[in-house]
């Protein structure tokens, strides 16, 4: 019988599975980022926290292109520093936010095209199409699969943007705190719409 693991106390915050304490830190081996609690492929997403989550989990397990499949493919591709962040449902963007590093531009392109190929192979007719964004760039590509968003970056780009920090500490991110609070410009006039006037 598959026992549910402890329900996380902070149900509001999304749980993060970073590859290390610091993204830039050297990760031994292939840099796989999954803590021991999330054991094996198993019954797909068993991190259910409510009826909606359980339904979503069921959908995820039924669909062939789910998070376990994606991570298995990334490991196969020798992707470095796989970081899977589970985004809380309050932020209605996606379920999983994946950030992956590659060794070179060609590696990133190869990984992105391979993921797209596997998605096209596995998807049902009703699933939306996915396209690769950032083909002209040489350091940052991304694909939006609907419930999963994947970003392929070079390590230097990853250092600059620090997306893992933003998506785990949404409002408490340090780069956000360093941004000076903006005041309204002098020529800004709060214009009421003509109907209100």
């Amino acid at each position: 019988m598959w026992r549910r693991v402890l329900r996380p106390l902070c149900a509001a915050m999304g749980s993060a599975f970073p590859s290390g304490s610091r993204p830039g830190a050297a990760v031994p081996g292939g840099g796989v980022g999954r803590p021991a609690r999330r054991a094996g492929g198993g019954a797909g997403a068993t991190w259910a926290r409510g009826a909606a989550e359980r339904r979503r989990a069921a959908d995820d397990a039924l669909s062939k292109f789910n998070i376990d499949f994606v991570v298995a493919l990334l490991r196969q591709e020798n992707a470095k520093d796989i970081c899977v962040i589970q985004v809380p449902p309050e932020i209605r963007y996606c379920d999983y936010f994946i950030i992956v590093s590659g060794s070179s531009t060609r590696h990133l392109h190869a990984m992105a095209y391979y993921m797209l190929k596997m998605y096209k192979h596995q998807k049902e007719e009703s699933d939306p199409h996915a396209h690769i964004e950032g083909k002209e760039t040489d350091d940052w590509l991304c694909i939006d699969f609907g419930s999963i968003v994947m970003h392929f970056m070079l390590p230097e780009t990853r250092e600059t943007y620090e997306l893992e920090k933003l998506w785990t500490l949404h409002s408490y991110d340090d780069q956000l705190a360093q941004m000076t609070p903006q005041s309204l410009p002098e020529d800004f006039i709060f214009g009421l719409t003509p109907q209100q006037q």
Partner: protein, 146 residues
């Protein structure tokens, strides 16, 4: 009767003259973004946040019509240089159930599509996700969505 009217007229003009007179011209509510609109850069890039004596202005809209809505790329003149930018909010009301912002918000991007800044504090509309185009990067550095 005529005297009464004249006296009333005089008092009315007296009332009118106490209205505040502006000594500068004010344009109406901005529509969508077109050439020479002043925009507000909302990311934390150095180019967008250092003060300059002229506000950043749109000089070209990459669109068949010259009018830019949310999700369109435009060319900005900032600090004496040209930079591409993505519109993320407009003052003009758009389709129903889409947010309307109090300022024309814009995020600076490079020619290859990478955003120049690393964080965006202002809310970003969800409709960018539906639109065809390269918006996932801008959504990835945004803090909250609308």
């Amino acid at each position: 009767m005529a005297l009464l009217n004249r006296r009333l007229g005089l008092s009315l003009t007296h009332l009118n003259s106490t209205v505040i007179q502006r000594h500068f011209s004010v344009t109406g509510v901005c529509g969508a973004i077109q050439k020479l609109t002043r925009v507000r850069v909302v990311d934390n890039s150095a180019l967008g946040n250092t003060p300059y004596h002229r506000p950043p202005k749109c000089i070209h809209v990459y669109n068949k019509t010259g009018v830019g809505k949310v999700g369109d790329t435009i060319l900005l003149a900032i600090k004496g240089e040209k930079k591409k930018a993505l519109i993320v909010g407009q003052k003009m009301p758009g389709p129903p159930m889409t947010p309307r912002f109090d300022s024309n918000n814009v995020v600076l991007i490079e020619d290859n599509g990478n955003p120049v800044g690393t964080r965006i504090k202002t809310p970003i509309p969800y409709i960018l996700r539906r639109r065809e185009g390269e918006f996932s990067k801008v959504l990835a550095i945004a803090r909250n969505f609308v």
